[in-house]
C-alpha cells in the first residue's frame, strides 16, 4: 500500500530543541517563590524509625518546611510508600523531605536531623529468605500475595499483601546446586500440553540452571518534579514516560479530583519502564508544596535514582528442555525464583512466556516464586522477564541443538511462531506472526552458513564465536481514546496524551491521522505535553505498545473527523456524505471536485453547527480525561474524537539477532565483529525511529549479557551501583560502530497501518546473540548466567571455573 506519511522519514518537531538544549525537562521549570527540597533516605536495609528529631533543622535560617510520614497516607506493604517510617525495607528509601530556599541549605539541614533506628535482619539474595528459618525482608513475610483489598485512601496500590513462603533447606541446597527442589511449594504455576509424554518423545534433553542479575535503571533524566498549587489546582511538572494515563493515579496520590491536576511533561529523558506510571516520590513533591504553600522542586540525584528509580528483577532458575529428533521443541519445564526487591514485582511468568512463544514447545510447565529482598524496588525494565530469559536461554538452547547434531539457525526457524501459533498458559492467539521469515532474512543478511563455518576459528589468542538469539515482547494494547481537531485556520491539530520519552513514537503515531485526512505534514501541529492543552486519554508509553495502540486511536479519531467533514459538506453542498471524498485539505464531491469546501471552511461550519461537530457533545464512552479535553476544545473547530475498540490476541513483536565476536582468551574481552538483527514488527512507519530502536536495544542487549548488574553486599545491604560509572553501561567502544538492521515489514492486520512496536525485543535478541556467541567461542561452555564478564571468561579459560559463581547467587559480581 502506498502511504503519504506512513513508512516515510520525517523530523519530529522537538528534535531541534533536543539538539540545541532548548528542550525543557521538569528540572528546567522555575516558579516565583520556588523552594528546593532534598530527601533524607535510609542508611539501613531493614528496620524502623524509633524517633526523629528535626527541630534543629527546622529552626535553621532558610528552611521552609519538612514533610514526614505523618503528612502522607501510608499504604500497607508491599506497596512502596512515598516516605517510610515504621517499615523500612531498603537502603536509600526516602524517610523525609526538607524544603529550603536553596538546595545547599536543605542538605545542611538534613545533616542536623537525628534519627534513632531499630534494625531488623535483612536479606539481599532471594534464596536466603526462601530457606526455612531465613529472615524475611518485611516484618510479615517475604512474598507477594494477591487479594481483592482496596487501596488505602490517598494511595494507588491495591489488592496485594505480604505473605510468607519457605522451602526446606534440602530443597534450597538442591536448587542452588542446579537440581530440582523436590517437594518445594510454588505459588506461581501454569502448564499446557502433556509434559511427560512430550519429554518421552524427545531424544535430546538438557537440564541447566541459570541466574540473571538485576540491573538498575539509569535514564539520563532523574525523576525530578516541581509542583505548586493555585486555587485548589495542582500544577505538576514531572518526568513520566506516559502522560494522560498518569493523571488519575497522580491525582489519587495527591488526594484531589483529576480535574484539578495540571500535568506538564513536555520531554522525558528516558524511562525504559522505570517511569511508566506516577511513582511514589511524586507524592512528596506535591504534598510538600501544598503543606508549605510554595512551589517546590524536588530534584532527584543520580545516586537517589539508583535507590528509588526501580530496577530489573533478577532470576534464579532451572530449565529442562527437550528436542524431538526432527528438531521440534517437545517440552520445557522451567522453575524461576524472581527477586522483586522491596515491594516491587518479579517477571517470572513473562520470562516463561518468552519460551512458550519463541520455542513453541508442545508442552510446557512453569513454576515460580516471587520473593522480596531488602534491595531497591524492582519493576519493569525494557522487556522485563523476556529479555533476561532470552540471554540465558540462547546458550542452553544451543547446547540442546548441538547435542542433537542440528543447525542452530534452522532449529530456531522451524520452531519460530507464525500467525496460527499460540502463547502462554492460556494458549492465546496472536494478532499475526511471520517470525520464520524474519529468521531466514536475518540469516541471509548475516551469511549464516559462511559465518557458522568460522565458529571456533583461532587467530592467535583470539577465537571466533558465532551467536544468535531471539527477542520477544507483547507490543500492543487497545481501547484508548483518539483526538484531533481541524482548526478554522485549516490546520490539523493532532492531540496526543502519550509521553515523549525520547523515542519519537509520539510523533510517528499521530501521523496516522494526517494520513487518513490526507493533510500535508507542514499543515499539522502536534499538541502534547500539558494537560491544559486538552489531551486525550492515551495509552501508557511503555511495553513497545505505542506503535500499535496509538495508531489505532489516531485512526479512529481521524475517521470520526472524516465522517464529520463529509457530513458538513453534504449538509451545505447537498447530496449524501458518502458522495464526498477528501484531498488537498478539501472535502469535495466525488463526481465534481470543484464542488467542495476547504478544511478551514469546514471547521468554521463545524463551529457554527455545534453539537458533535465542534465538540459540544461527544461519546459518553470516552474517558473522563478526554471528555474534559473535548469540552475545553468545544467551539474551536471540527473535532475528531473516538474511543478505540478492543483488539484480540497478543501483539507479538519479535526480533532475531546474529552476532560474530572475536574473543581474546588471554583477557576475557571480545570485539563484536558484526551484529545483524531483523524484526517482525509489522509495517515500519518511521524508518529512522525503527533503526534507532534496533540500535539502542542492541547496545543495551550487549550490556545485559556483558556488563550490567546489580551488586549488593550481603554484609550490610549496600549497593555497589549508585552511579552511571558503576552501572557498567556499554560505551561507544564496546559496541559495533554499525549494526545491520532490517524489518520484515509485513503488516499486522489489527493495526490500521499494520504497525507493531519493537523497542523491547531489540534488546533481547542482542543479549541472546551475545551470550550465544560467547558460549560458542568457548566450545559451547555454559556460564548459566547473565551477564558474563571478563573475569568469568578468564577463570574458565584458566580452568578456574570453581571460582565462578556457580550456585545461583544473585546480586553479586
Amino acid at each position: 500500500m502506498t502511504y503519504k506519511h506512513i513508512g516515510k522519514n520525517f523530523t519530529p518537531p522537538d528534535i531541534e530543541a533536543k539538539v540545541t538544549g532548548a528542550a525543557r525537562y521538569a528540572e528546567d521549570f522555575k516558579r516565583e517563590g520556588m523552594v528546593f527540597a532534598r530527601l533524607l533516605t535510609s542508611p539501613l536495609p531493614a528496620g524502623r524509625i524509633v524517633n526523629i528529631d528535626y527541630s534543629e533543622a527546622l529552626a535553621m535560617e532558610g528552611v521552609v518546611g519538612i514533610l514526614t510520614t505523618e503528612d502522607l497516607p501510608q499504604p500497607a506493604p508491599p506497596a512502596n510508600p512515598s516516605l517510610a517510617s515504621d517499615i523500612i525495607t531498603y537502603i536509600g528509601q526516602p524517610i523525609l523531605a526538607v524544603a529550603a530556599v536553596t538546595e545547599e541549605i536543605a542538605e545542611n539541614a538534613i545533616e542536623k536531623i537525628r534519627i534513632d533506628f531499630e534494625r531488623r535482619p535483612f536479606i539481599v539474595d532471594p534464596l536466603d529468605t526462601l530457606v526455612e528459618g531465613g529472615p524475611n525482608p518485611y516484618p510479615t513475610g517475604n512474598t507477594l500475595v494477591r487479594n481483592a483489598g482496596e487501596a488505602a485512601a490517598g494511595t494507588t496500590v491495591s489488592g496485594t499483601d505480604v505473605g510468607e513462603v519457605k522451602w526446606s533447606r534440602d530443597a534450597i541446597n538442591a536448587f542452588r546446586a542446579g537440581q530440582v527442589p523436590e517437594g518445594a511449594p510454588f505459588p506461581e504455576e501454569w502448564a499446557f500440553g502433556e509434559l511427560e509424554a512430550e519429554f518421552a518423545q524427545c531424544t535430546t534433553i538438557v537440564e541447566e540452571p541459570f541466574v540473571t542479575i538485576g540491573q538498575p535503571h539509569h535514564a539520563l533524566e532523574p525523576r525530578t518534579g516541581m509542583a505548586y498549587w493555585e486555587n485548589g489546582r495542582c500544577y505538576f511538572h514531572g518526568s513520566l514516560q506516559s502522560h494522560t494515563i498518569g493523571i488519575a493515579p497522580l491525582a489519587g496520590m495527591l488526594g484531589i479530583d483529576p480535574a484539578n491536576l495540571v500535568f506538564i511533561n513536555e520531554n522525558t529523558g528516558g524511562g525504559f519502564g522505570g517511569k511508566i506510571f506516577p511513582y511514589p516520590v511524586m507524592a512528596v513533591t506535591g504534598h510538600l508544596a501544598r503543606k508549605i504553600n510554595r512551589p517546590v522542586q524536588l530534584r532527584i540525584t543520580r545516586e537517589e535514582e539508583f535507590y528509588i528509580g526501580s530496577a530489573r528483577s533478577g532470576m534464579q532458575g532451572r530449565m529442562k528442555l527437550g528436542l524431538k529428533p526432527n528438531g521440534d521443541v517437545g517440552a520445557v519445564d522451567v522453575i524461576i525464583v524472581g527477586d522483586a526487591g522491596s515491594g516491587g514485582g518479579a517477571s517470572n511468568s513473562s520470562a516463561a512466556e518468552h519460551i512458550s512463544l519463541m520455542l513453541q514447545p508442545a508442552a510446557m510447565r512453569f513454576r515460580g516464586v516471587t520473593l522480596y529482598t531488602n534491595t531497591t524496588p524492582r519493576g519493569a525494565q525494557r522487556g522485563p522477564g523476556q529479555n533476561e530469559m532470552a540471554a540465558v536461554l540462547a546458550p542452553i538452547f544451543d547446547k540442546a541443538i548441538r547435542q542433537a547434531g542440528l543447525d542452530r539457525m534452522t532449529v530456531r526457524r522451524q520452531n519460530a511462531p507464525v500467525s496460527e501459533d499460540l502463547i502462554g498458559p492460556r494458549r492465546g492467539a496472536l494478532t499475526s506472526a511471520f517470525f520464520p521469515q524474519a529468521i531466514q532474512m536475518g540469516a541471509d543478511m548475516f551469511n549464516w552458513d559462511e559465518r557458522q563455518a568460522r565458529s571456533g576459528q583461532r587467530n592467535g589468542n583470539k577465537v571466533t564465536g558465532i551467536g544468535l538469539g531471539m527477542g520477544y515482547h507483547s507490543a500492543g494494547a487497545s481501547g484508548y481514546d483518539g483526538l484531533c481537531r481541524i482548526g478554522t485556520d485549516g490546520r490539523l491539530y493532532l492531540h496526543t496524551g502519550v509521553g515523549n520519552l525520547g523515542t519519537y513514537s509520539y510523533a510517528s503515531v499521530v501521523r496516522t491521522a494526517a494520513e487518513v485526512l490526507k493533510v500535508d505534514w507542514n499543515n499539522c501541529e502536534i499538541v502534547r505535553g500539558n494537560t491544559d492543552l486538552h489531551l486525550p486519554y492515551s495509552t501508557y508509553q511503555a511495553g513497545s505498545n505505542t506503535m500499535f495502540t496509538e495508531v489505532r486511536t489516531n485512526f479512529v479519531a481521524a475517521q470520526d473527523a472524516l465522517r464529520k467533514l463529509k457530513e458538513i459538506a453534504a449538509a451545505d453542498l447537498g447530496g449524501a456524505a458518502d458522495d464526498y471524498e477528501i484531498d488537498g485539505a478539501r472535502v469535495f464531491l466525488s463526481s465534481n471536485a470543484e464542488q467542495g469546501m476547504t478544511y478551514a471552511e469546514a471547521a468554521q461550519r463545524a463551529v457554527e453547527m455545534g453539537g458533535e461537530y465542534s465538540g459540544e457533545t461527544f461519546p459518553d464512552e470516552l474517558n473522563d480525561v478526554t471528555k474534559r479535553s473535548v469540552q475545553g476544545l468545544a467551539g474551536t473547530g471540527l473535532i475528531g474524537v473516538a474511543k478505540d475498540t478492543r483488539h484480540s490476541g497478543t501483539v507479538p513483536s519479535m526480533t532475531i539477532g546474529f552476532m560474530e565476536i572475536e574473543l581474546d582468551l588471554g583477557t576475557g574481552k571480545y570485539d563484536i565483529v558484526d551484529y545483524t538483527a531483523v524484526a517482525d514488527c509489522g509495517t515500519i512507519i518511521h524508518p529512522l525511529g525503527f533503526r534507532q530502536s534496533m540500535n539502542g536495544g542492541g547496545v543495551w542487549g550487549v550490556g545485559l549479557s556483558g556488563y550490567e548488574r546489580h551488586v549488593y553486599d550481603p554484609q550490610n545491604g549496600l549497593s555497589a551501583n549508585v552511579g552511571l560509572y558503576q552501572a557498567k553501561i556499554p560505551t561507544y567502544l564496546d559496541v559495533p560502530l554499525n549494526n545491520n538492521t532490517a524489518g520484515l515489514n509485513i503488516a499486522d492486520p489489527q493495526s490500521p497501518m499494520g504497525s507493531r512496536g519493537v523497542g523491547e525485543p531489540s534488546q533481547g535478541c542482542a543479549a541472546a546473540a551475545l551470550s550465544s556467541a560467547i558460549s560458542d567461542a568457548l566450545g559451547g561452555h555454559l556460564f548459566n548466567r547473565a551477564p558474563v564478564t571478563p573475569d568469568m571468561i578468564i577463570n574458565h579459560v584458566a580452568q578456574l571455573d570453581h571460582f565462578n559463581t556457580g550456585d545461583l547467587k544473585t546480586n553479586t559480581f
Partner: protein
C-alpha cells in the same frame, strides 16, 4: 544515608604562583585540598565523605603546565592533562609507553581535564571506602572488602595490610617502568622521589597512597632518558573499553641486544595498592630472547605469592597472560 549532591561551603584559593600555592598548602595542611582536574575531588566533597575546609585550585599556575625537554629526558608539568601527554609528539616518539598509558585513562572527557598529578595521586577506588564506610583507610577498624562475603572482584592480590584496595592509576605503572622521578615541592624546598618509591601501600601509611605529606605539592614528573625509545608493552584490561579502571594492567619496557633481553622493567597495576614490580620475571628473562619460549619459562611467575580474595582469583591468570603477551608481542 542522604545522597548529598551539593558542594558545602568552603574557602577557595586560586594562586597563580607556585610559591603562593605552597604557602597555602603549608598553612592549611590537612585542612586544605589540592585541586587540579577535579576528577577525584568533587565526588568526595559533594558526598561529604571528605570535608576539607579549603580548596587550593592549582589551575592558574602556568609553571606547573607544559611538557619540556631536559638534558636528561623530559619534564612534565604536574598539571599537564592526560590528553596532552597522550598526544605530545615528544612523549609519543620517545616514551610511547607513557603516551599509551595516558591514552587509556577513563574517557576522552576525563582525559581532557584530568592531570598527570591527579592520576598518580588519586585515592583508591574501593567502593566500600568511597561510600564513606568507616574502614581502616577511613580511620575505622575493619575492612569491608576483605571478608568471605565481600564484593571484592577488583581488589588486591598482594601486600594487603588491613586494606585490600588497589592502585587505580593507569599511568603509575608506566612511570615506575620508565623510572620516572616525581618532583615534590614544599614551602622552602623540594625533594625528588623515584616513582617506584612515590606510591605507598597500607603497611606504610593506610591513609595515603603516596609519600606526599600535607603541605607538599607534586609539581612535575621527570622521565629520564634511560628508557627513551625502548621496546615497550602496555595493556590495560578493564570491563569496558572506556571509563573503567583496570582489572589488571601491565607496563613493560625492555632493551634487547642481539635478540636477547638485556634489561627490563615490568610493572603491574591494579593488583596491589601500589604499582607492582615483577622483579622475579625481570630477572628470569634477562639474557633471554623475547619469544614464546621465554614466555613459557616464566609462566605463572608473575602471580606467585598472590593471596586472592573471594572474587578476584581471575587476576592471577590475567597477570600471567599479560606477561606472556609482553614477551611475545
Amino acid at each position: 544515608m542522604p545522597a548529598y549532591d551539593n558542594m558545602p561551603a568552603m574557602e577557595l584559593y586560586q594562586p597563580v604562583q607556585v610559591e603562593d600555592a605552597l604557602s597555602l598548602a603549608s598553612r592549611l595542611a590537612d585542612r586544605g585540598w589540592l585541586l587540579g582536574g577535579g576528577q577525584d575531588t568533587y565526588g568526595w566533597i559533594k558526598d561529604r565523605a571528605k570535608r576539607p575546609e579549603a580548596l587550593i585550585d592549582l589551575n592558574g599556575i602556568e609553571s606547573m603546565r607544559g611538557i619540556r625537554e631536559t638534558s636528561d629526558g623530559i619534564e612534565i608539568g604536574a598539571l599537564a592533562t592526560l590528553t596532552e601527554i597522550s598526544t605530545n609528539p615528544l612523549i609519543s616518539e620517545r616514551y610511547a609507553l607513557l603516551a599509551k598509558a595516558a591514552s587509556v585513562v577513563a574517557s576522552p572527557q576525563i582525559r581532557n581535564v584530568g592531570t598527570i598529578a591527579g592520576n598518580v595521586s588519586q585515592d583508591v577506588r574501593c567502593w566500600y571506602y568511597r561510600r564513606g564506610l568507616d574502614c581502616y583507610r577511613a580511620g575505622g577498624n575493619l575492612c569491608y572488602a576483605d571478608t568471605p562475603e565481600a564484593q571484592n572482584r577488583e581488589h588486591a592480590l598482594f601486600n594487603a595490610s588491613r586494606c585490600v584496595a588497589v592502585t587505580p592509576s593507569d599511568t603509575g605503572p608506566a612511570l615506575v617502568a620508565l623510572e620516572a622521578q616525581m618532583v615534590i615541592s614544599r614551602e622552602g624546598g623540594q625533594r625528588v622521589v623515584a616513582a617506584e618509591d612515590f606510591f605507598v601501600g597500607p603497611a606504610i601509611n593506610i591513609t595515603r597512597t603516596t609519600v606526599m605529606e600535607p603541605g607538599e605539592i607534586l609539581t612535575a614528573v621527570r622521565i629520564p632518558a634511560k628508557w627513551a625509545n625502548a621496546e615497550y608493552f602496555y595493556e590495560k584490561v578493564a570491563d569496558r573499553n572506556v571509563w573503567d579502571f583496570a582489572l589488571v594492567s601491565l607496563a613493560a619496557v625492555m632493551r634487547t641486544e642481539g635478540g636477547n633481553i638485556q634489561d627490563s622493567r615490568l610493572v603491574c597495576g591494579a593488583v596491589e595498592c601500589t604499582p607492582r614490580r615483577l622483579r622475579s620475571v625481570e630477572q628470569a628473562i634477562q639474557g633471554q630472547p623475547r619469544n614464546q619460549a621465554t614466555a613459557d619459562m616464566v609462566a605463572g611467575m608473575a602471580s606467585e605469592g598472590a593471596q586472592p580474595l573471594t572474587h578476584n582469583h581471575f587476576k592471577m591468570p590475567l597477570m600471567d597472560n599479560l606477561v606472556q603477551r609482553a614477551l611475545t608481542a
